[in-house]
Amino acid sequence: MKCTKCGQKAVMHMEHHNLALCQDHFPDWMRTQTAHIIKKYSMFRHEERLLLAVSGGKDSLALWDILWKLGYQVDGIYLDLGINGETNYSAISGETAQTFANERGLRLTTINVKARYGESIPELGSRTKRGHQKPCSQCGLVKRYLLNKEALDGKYDAILTAHNLDDEAAFLFSNLTHWNMQYLGRQYPLLPATTGFVRKVKPFCMFYERETTAYALLCGIQYIYTECPYAKGSKQLRNKIYLNMLEDEQAGFKSQFYAGYLRALDAGTFPRSQESPEMLEQKRCTQCGQPTSSNGLCTFCRLFTR
């Protein structure tokens, strides 16, 4: 197969785009498309300060590399969740992210959850009933809270996450099959800032997972290949497998599924559910001061209160 642009040997065939690209043109295409998505959704501008959630995995490091090459001011934040055990997962992820940042002269802040709040995510999961056998729900809550807190404290203009199209399609699939309307109205490439919450954007939301992986490989980015030990057997992974089966049958299925949802959202098919500033002003956590829907402590502060 030949590169559509130059006729050299192609290294990536993207059937859903009817496009094959060589090892030189594929990374260029990724950068151009990322810039296009940032512009299309008015995600952020060059003069703004950005905070990227970095996991040490392929997606976040590929996104950081692209944004750095596009000239954006992006600092990274790594949340050390204390998921170690046999795989030493958190420790290796953190080292990987730090090495990436050092090699490029980028700034990475590491927050150690146990050092700051007294418990790691696995310890939190085993103490509370919320996680049942896995601490994934606590983990998600802690990450969302801390990212927002660090962005507010550091006066960043936007929080960036490297969710790709497969992540978004799997999340959408789950929410649709459960008719979870509360989440359906919130899933969008950009969530504007509101009282107590920094703007959140997903510049990789239109890329397939194999494209972000290919970018990391072609650009020599060292990323953590080991999965989080709690991801095994997760609903999200299962949904991704189902969606890939559909993609194998019909090229472009995932892309059409997600893009169709965004069009429906833009057309008002699903109500956009974001709390109004007035509502958020009504209640504040008595401990941390963040807006909360409940009286007294917010969910995060309740989680760490024994």
């Binding site: 995995g57 490989l217 992974l237 890939n244």
Partner: protein, 64 residues
Amino acid sequence: MLATLKIREKEIHIRGNRPLYRIMEDLQLSPQAYLAVRDGVLLTGDDRIQEGDVVELIAVVSGG
């Protein structure tokens, strides 16, 4: 001599002299879920795998 496919810690020995997509089909592996690398070069589905080749399949699906 067979070709070797490496998937994480596993090694599979398979018949070569056929395109990668045929091998993926036979092994019931989704081309969406893996990237194939031979001698440091990414392969597309139509690339032929020869006897004696060592191909690494890199899983791309992640998340919990």
